[in-house]
């Protein structure tokens, strides 16, 4: 399905509207940014107002929130988890360390640029980002969805080889099931 802004069908508009208003975040605290997710979701900032909700397993989730730096050990799990999610799926890079390594730029165990390994739809910067900026990141994602631009899953599928090459460069012992679709 192509998302041309001019030739959007009414079905697409409804579907995108529903997608936009129902973002289920996978319960995966990959890094220290996970500490700002509970405040975002709980009573003070109340992310549920925007349709955000936790999802327990990747099968049910829409958004993979990469909360901060990824150790290579975690990267492997994140890739596995991402591939188990069901399209359309979105990745939000959360915190400076997903953008350029942040304060761990010289660490031997963390990746420095998330979008080399997974298709990132939205980055939220800061170390760590305040709940307000997290929500603003989600609103940005919602905008992208309603415009039909948040198609990271298709990008990943199309450029799978490039992503795989990058992933294998970091994960030395690549023993993973294939991404079969």
């Amino acid at each position: 399905m192509t998302y041309d802004k001019n030739s959007k069908k009414i079905v697409d508009i409804i579907q995108n509207f529903a997608r936009k208003h129902s973002l289920w975040i996978l319960a995966y605290g990959t890094g220290c940014g996970a500490i700002e997710v509970p405040p975002t979701m709980t009573s003070r900032y109340d992310g549920e107002r925007f349709g955000l909700r936790g999802a327990a397993t990747p099968r049910q989730a829409d958004v993979l929130l990469i909360t901060g730096y990824l150790a290579t050990k975690t990267l492997k799990r994140v890739i596995r988890t991402y591939e188990q999610m069901q399209s359309p799926k979105y990745v939000i890079g959360f915190g400076s360390c997903t953008i350029n390594g942040g304060m761990y730029w010289d660490s031997y165990n963390t990746i420095k640029a998330l979008d080399r390994y997974l298709p990132v739809d939205v980055y939220i910067n800061g170390c760590m980002p305040r709940p307000e900026s997290v929500i603003s990141g989600f609103i940005k994602l919602q905008q992208l969805i309603s415009e039909g631009k948040a198609n990271g899953a298709e990008k990943y599928q199309k450029n799978l080889e490039w992503y795989r090459e990058n992933q294998k460069k970091v994960i030395h012992n690549w023993k993973m099931p294939d991404y079969n679709w």
């Binding site: 605290g29 990959t30 996970a34 709980t42 003070r44 936790g54 660490s107 031997y108 165990n109 760590m128």
Partner: protein, 367 residues
């Protein structure tokens, strides 16, 4: 040949895990036969990075070691440097440090209450406590500029003085938190269901608690009165009045009770601190941070964090960079060897519950 028992991966991507770690469970039915903790998902090599940074640059790093409660890390590093260097800390800075540490403790207990009840499906409690914890973070934000990571406690004092009227706002927040306590009690601590689930679960016998190296509330929940604030008073804790609650149940319930009482104690400590806080310098100036050399030496300093004894072993070889900073987080023992032991025989429904009661925090296990 496949194994007889079923393998269940609790984590890293699991709603019941605290942080990013994995407990590989072998279960027969829903009883755990063997538990194996796997960590390293959050390894950022802090200790290696600190060897690359100057002493001042290390402060932003250490606070990221324990995400829920970063201040004991700063406190530890600052005290270690002060001990090696012999640097004096102004009295006011000590009081401010205690205030910050206790506020951090309150915030962590708020998070813990949320986690503990969230792990057994009481989702109203996290909504309340984490929302209320945010008011403490507001104070931090005003004081330090950061909600979570403060980088406030530095060698020689604290980074800046208290803003105008800050203590009043602290007191106001404390009043609010204290008024919320009856609500928490009604919802969680007086809830018969919580008692039913928590009693007799996750037992750490008293003698084993000593043998296994348990610290903090789990140790006090097993009836051993050990608290760094009393046994080895740092800053101004020896000038403050507070009790160290203990409980003899050895189970999740008694650990919860200990934390519940400490919550009140912390509020009272902060009030005392504000009352007794002297005027004066807040900072004993360090030399040019870029060429600041700490004389050769070593120090092991301890702080009582909300989850227990936080130890730092710092070695300086006289250069501008630390030779070695070794962090001993409380969860280091709780999360790996202790968890593996007390999960055996537990019900699968209680894994997350027990983990929360131990205050497992993976980033300080692997750093």
């Amino acid at each position: 040949m496949r194994e007889k028992e079923t393998t269940i991966y609790l984590g890293p991507q699991h709603p019941g895990i605290t942080g990013n770690m994995m407990v590989k469970l072998k279960v027969a039915g829903d009883t755990i036969v063997k538990a194996e903790t796997h960590v390293g998902y959050l390894h950022r090599a802090f200790e290696k990075l600190m060897e690359q940074r100057t002493w001042t640059q290390s402060f932003p790093i250490v606070c990221r070691i324990c995400v829920p409660e970063p201040d004991p890390n700063e406190e530890n590093l600052a005290r270690a440097i002060e001990e090696i260097e012999g640097r004096e800390v102004p009295e006011r800075a000590k009081y401010i440090r205690v205030m910050v540490l206790e506020l951090a403790r309150l915030a962590t207990y708020g998070l813990w209450m949320g986690g503990q009840s969230g792990s057994m499906g009481l989702y109203t409690m996290p909504q309340w406590t984490i929302g209320d914890r945010d008011y403490i973070l507001d104070l931090f934000e005003e004081l330090t500029g950061g909600r979570v990571y403060h980088m406030y406690i530095w060698a020689g004092g604290v980074r800046r003085d208290l803003p105008e009227g800050f203590t009043d706002r602290v007191l106001k927040t404390l009043d609010y938190l204290e008024n919320r306590l009856p609500d928490y009690d009604n919802l969680l601590f007086n809830n018969a269901l919580f008692q039913k689930r928590a009693q007799g679960v996750g037992i750490i016998p008293k003698d084993k608690a000593i043998e296994w190296g348990v610290v903090g509330p789990p140790l006090r929940g097993s009836g051993i009165k050990h608290d760094v604030r009393i046994d080895e008073p740092y800053e101004v804790y020896d000038k403050l009045n507070f009790i160290v609650p203990t409980s003899d149940g050895c189970d999740v319930w008694s650990r919860a009770l200990v934390r519940r009482q400490e919550y009140e104690q912390s509020i009272s400590i902060i009030r005392q601190v504000i009352e007794k806080m002297p005027k004066g310098d807040y900072y004993n100036k360090i030399p040019n941070p870029l060429t600041w050399q700490v004389p050769p030496g070593e120090a092991y300093v301890k702080t009582e964090s909300a989850r227990g004894e936080f130890g730092y072993y710092v070695v300086s070889d006289g250069s501008i960079k630390p030779r070695r900073v070794h962090v001993r987080g409380p969860a280091y023992v709780h999360g790996v060897s202790l968890l593996e032991k007390i999960l055996v025989g537990a019900n699968i429904a209680d894994v997350s519950f027990i983990m929360n009661s131990l205050g497992t925090c993976p980033p300080e296990i692997e750093r």
